[in-house]
Amino acid sequence: MQPSKRLCHIGSMDTPAIDGWFTVDDDTVHLIGTRCAECRTVCFPPRTGFCPNPRCPGEELVPARLSRRGTVWSYTDARYPPPAPFVAAEPYTPVTLAAVELAEEGIVVLGQVKDLTVDDLHVGMELELTAGPLADGPLVWMWGRPRGPGQTGAGAPASTGGTGGTGGTGGTGGTGGTT
């Protein structure tokens, strides 16, 4: 990490590393997906055109904020600097990655993990969405330790689904291709 670019809080003025995949309002980060108006299938990254559900004719994919909390489906890290186009910090500290299951949307979303190492993680634990800078500056979504108890769900009134029910290791989103 370049100390000069290190942010102590998430500022909306920081350039996102990719447009339209997440938003930052008042330090609250949301992933932006799309939801099919016809069948409710959720996509991340956001999708244009038509629904990926082969049994749905839907063509209206509405941008949707995804649940901010989910449970760890799995996790790993990169002990060696990943190759370009990744920009590795100097000196390099391992990038931690987590695949997090969002119960309401029924999807697993991969992201870097902020301020936690693999020793702090376990399958089934709850993480919350945040954001942090890539080594060369732009902001990307990241998973982080939940900030206190409270709300799950996708922005204001959309969801009260909660993620507590899928704790443990069973999950609902598939079992790693082992069925």
Binding site: N53, S74, Y75, R79, A84, F86, L110, G177
Partner: protein, 394 residues
């Protein structure tokens, strides 16, 4: 009517630093010799493409055909990532089954750079394969590691189990003259190798290699006419895609499909690949004498053992610990030594799996021979949802 595997050939795997076409041509000539046929007998040639060797790699069929000498044979080139070889084989088989030709040659070869596979060069912010490196630094081993950690959490698999897969495959590879790594290893060595993507260590992850493989397929009728052996036949080629919603986080994706609208399919992707092959062959897991599976990591071999139905979910490590999947065991897995001993030469790898099926079914695998081998399955998965499984029988 069935399609006969008349000949197989390989260029040994390694890091030879030669153009990929040399390996492909060497393998093709070996396969033709093995079949007792001439290049001029071939009516249809298919090349499995490589994307890291410039334009000749994108049109591998023509590259090999030109190198072997233009004969006017019909050709095709195809790319399906790790499943390229299986796709190429399926195209050739289908053409024979359709009666459009009697003799087909399938060739794949690769020459690889050192280190992690990188995305193809240039800024391509619309390409998820580029973006996953740019935004996440998510290498291929990172995805293998996610699956491995999931096994540990769900099933209680251990690093020792993963190391035991490497020990098993290294032993088999030490007996295979085409393998890149011929040295046996101990579990202690595996567990002492550097961590790459927790929980996977360097020796849990397959290398990238140079290599080439080829098979000659012929119609049964042609084999009889020319007096070729019809001993080994293709019973099935499965090239299925996943069924929506795919609930496994697949390389190079950022997320799974959503189960919000449709429940997960009866079979996850890898299991569906094998299932389709069994259905086509009219066989089941209990009929297999052995299997070659795509052990990109040690842990992934255990996933495959369950996906192809040799063990119920979560019980592959039990088979491993009992020695069932070792050479001499009840149903050896990766008797060739697998990717652990070869390293991946992408377009050649699925063809190399078929070379091993053929040798085992012919009973010419020497010290690696599976006793009384009657049916073998080779399974693999290409990026973005290219399934591939081939069943060969004798």
């Amino acid at each position: 009517m069935s399609v006969v595997i008349a000949g197989t050939g390989m260029h040994p795997w390694g890091k030879w630093g030669r153009p990929f076409a040399e390996y492909g041509v060497a393998a093709a000539r070996a396969a033709l010799r093995d079949a007792g046929l001439e290049w001029t007998d071939v009516q249809f040639a298919v090349g499995a493409d490589t994307i890291r060797n410039g334009y000749p790699g994108f049109i591998a069929g023509a590259t090999f055909a030109q190198a072997l000498g233009w004969t006017g044979a019909r050709i095709a080139s195809c790319y399906a990532a790790c499943a390229s070889g299986a796709q190429a084989l399926d195209i050739a088989r289908t053409r024979i089954l359709a009666g459009l030709c009697d003799v087909a040659l399938v060739v794949g070869a690769d020459s690889t750079p050192k280190g992690f596979f990188r995305p193809v060069g240039g800024d391509r912010p619309d390409d998820p394969d580029w973006l996953r490196f740019r935004l996440l630094g998510a290498t291929n081993p990172a995805y293998f590691a996610l699956y491995a950690r999931r096994r540990m959490a769900l099933y209680g698999d251990t690093s020792q189990d993963f190391a035991a897969v490497k020990v098993k495959n290294a032993l088999a590879g030490s007996l295979n003259e085409n393998a890149r790594y011929r040295r046996t290893v101990t579990a202690e060595e595996v567990l002492a190798s550097p961590m790459v993507a927790d929980p996977l260590r360097l020796m849990d992850i397959c290398a990238t290699s140079d290599g080439g493989a080829a098979v000659v397929l012929v119609s049964e009728e042609y084999a009889r006419r020319r007096g070729l052996s019809t001993a080994v036949r293709i019973a099935a080629v499965s090239t299925v895609t996943p069924t929506f919603p795919n609930t496994v986080l697949e390389l190079p994706c950022f997320a799974t499909d959503s189960t919000a609208a449709a429940p997960p399919p009866e079979r996850a992707f890898r299991a569906s690949i094998a299932h389709a092959a069994y259905e086509e062959a009219g066989l089941g897991p209990a009929d297999l004498s052995f299997a070659e599976v795509y052990d990109l990591s040690t842990a992934l071999e255990l996933d495959w053992v369950e996906d192809i139905g040799l063990a119920p979910p979560g019980e592959a490590a039990k088979l491993l610990r009992a020695g069932d999947t070792a050479l001499g065991g009840r149903v050896p897995v990766n008797p060739s030594g697998g990717l652990a001993s070869f390293g991946e030469a992408i377009p050649a790898q699925a063809i190399a799996q078929v070379c091993e099926l053929t040798r085992q079914l012919r009973g010419t695998a020497g010290t690696r021979q599976v006793v009384n081998a009657r049916a073998g399955l080779a399974a693999n998965q290409g990026l973005f949802g290219h399934g591939s499984a081939i069943i060969a029988i004798t």
